[in-house]
């Protein structure tokens, strides 16, 4: 006889947010995850009131250093265009700026990486300046060092998990 029991628990899903991607979700059973972030930065923004959030996984600080078509077709590769699109998308689905919980992780550096070539540092500056302009406080930042990181956002409760390969794990 067939088992007729139907689970009312939603099936949990994990969605990878690859390098140069932005994903948003309102599915409480979904976890967004950016694996192995290097010099790029993973940014999560979450509105706990309406329980929606997203994850941006960008790798370069400034789209204006590229040709306009590169930035136009790949806005999520860059801090400036990626963050602007992220804020707009959250706003469009009803999130309020004042509610947003922001977590950033990544911006790693090669050892002795000098200023001009230090993409990780520039990415951090770019995200900090954008968030400052929008008056968005960073709830938690895990930035720099020589580590690879994985960043997760649980849409159900807004928790972030940051894992540093071979090192630490933080739930924030």
């Amino acid at each position: 006889m067939l088992d007729t029991h139907i689970s009312h628990q939603p099936i949990s899903v994990m969605t990878a947010v690859n390098f140069g991607e932005l994903k948003l979700s309102r599915n409480p059973a979904e976890t967004l995850v950016a694996f192995s972030i290097g010099a790029g930065i993973g940014v999560t923004m979450y509105d706990p009131v309406i329980k929606v959030g997203g994850l941006l996984n960008f790798v370069l600080p400034d789209s204006s250093t590229m040709s306009s078509s590169q930035a136009q077709f790949h806005p999520f590769m860059f801090a400036d265009t990626g963050l602007a699109a992220f804020s707009d998308a959250l706003h469009n689905i009803g999130a309020k700026t004042d509610n947003l919980k922001v977590v950033i992780a990544g911006g790693a550096q090669i050892m002795d990486q000098t200023a001009a070539f230090n993409i990780g540092h520039k990415n951090h500056q770019a995200v900090t300046s954008y968030l400052g302009e929008k008056k968005l406080a960073v709830h938690y930042a895990d930035i720099g060092g020589i580590f690879m990181r994985t960043l997760r956002l649980d849409i159900g409760n807004g928790d972030n998990l940051i894992q540093t390969l071979g090192q630490t794990e933080a739930k924030v």
């Binding site: 290097g38 010099a39 690879m148």
Partner: protein, 283 residues
């Protein structure tokens, strides 16, 4: 300290590169070799021909008609692409396994190897080294072959290596050398010697982290080095060693690579990375 001879004897556990691929590598390294010599080598090897045709006919390449001969494949995809497929096909088997010790998942070392190879090619083409692009591609692809053997020794000594890297400012390869007595670059060069790679290819594998100052003057080795650090920054197929390698800005200065150039190469490599997953499992 582990006996270095024991580690070196681990080279015998690798699956040697098929002779025809080794010949193609040698020709690709030789500036005077002709493209038709390389094509002939492929055509005259039935098993390699079969593999290449199978790969070329996969949906990935989106060809409008079925390819039945290597000559056809060369016409449709170009000889460069075919040579790259031969090289990927010849090295895939060794790299696919999950090496212990570096904290890499299954296939991640392979992902890093292949993306580095394409990054090196992007750099070679954009910085006037087109005649050397196959050599640079091959060196970037094979640069971490030593890690396959080193992995279990790194796993055994990981705590010590970790302390040197995170408390005493060692780079990962410096720490490998200090703790184990040999690092993955030296071991990779030993593999190259055993498999009779050309001298230049061995040199590039041996010095791909540029610890030796004189290597920083060698432009082809510099391309492999840059490709590697770009993939580390992108974070593709990188393990517990993370970004724990040294950055030498003089290498970029000598290549006349500006900050904008570096960002452009990261962007182009990133684009390549998004298309790579399908290719990785074809070869």
């Amino acid at each position: 300290m582990t006996n270095v001879d024991d580690i070196i004897s681990g080279i015998d556990t690798l699956r040697p590169i098929p002779p025809v691929a080794a010949q193609i590598m040698a020709l690709a390294e030789d500036e005077n070799s002709s493209m038709s010599e390389i094509a002939d080598l492929i055509v005259h090897d039935p098993s390699l021909t079969a593999s290449i045709l199978k790969i070329c006919n996969a949906a990935y390449f989106g060809l409008s008609r079925r390819v039945d001969s290597v000559r056809d494949a060369i016409v449709l995809l170009g000889l460069d692409e075919i040579i790259e497929l031969v090289l990927l096909n010849a090295t895939a088997e060794n790299f696919r396994d999950e090496p212990d010790g570096y904290g890499l998942g299954e296939g991640e070392l392979w992902q890093h190897a292949v993306l580095s190879a394409y990054a090196a090619k992007i750099l070679a083409e954009s910085h006037g080294f087109t005649s050397q692009k196959h050599l640079v591609f091959t060196a970037a692809l094979l640069k971490d072959i030593g890690k396959i053997i080193m992995g279990r020794f790194v796993a055994f000594s990981y705590e010590k290596i970790n302390i040197l890297v995170h408390s005493r400012g060692y780079s990962f390869n410096e720490a490998e050398k200090e703790v184990i007595g040999i690092n993955h670059e030296e071991l990779g060069a030993r593999v190259g010697q055993k498999w009779r790679f050309g001298d230049q290819l061995i040199y590039m594998i041996r010095h791909h982290h540029m610890t030796d100052k004189t290597a920083r003057d060698d432009p082809e080795t510099a391309l492999v080095y840059l490709a590697d650090i770009i993939c580390m920054m992108i974070g593709f197929g990188t393990g517990v060693d993370g970004l724990a390698y040294r950055f030498y800005s003089e290498v970029l200065d000598r290549m006349k690579l500006t900050e904008k150039d570096l960002q452009n190469v990261i962007f182009d490599t990133g684009q390549r990375r998004q298309k790579l997953d399908k290719l990785l499992y074809l070869v």
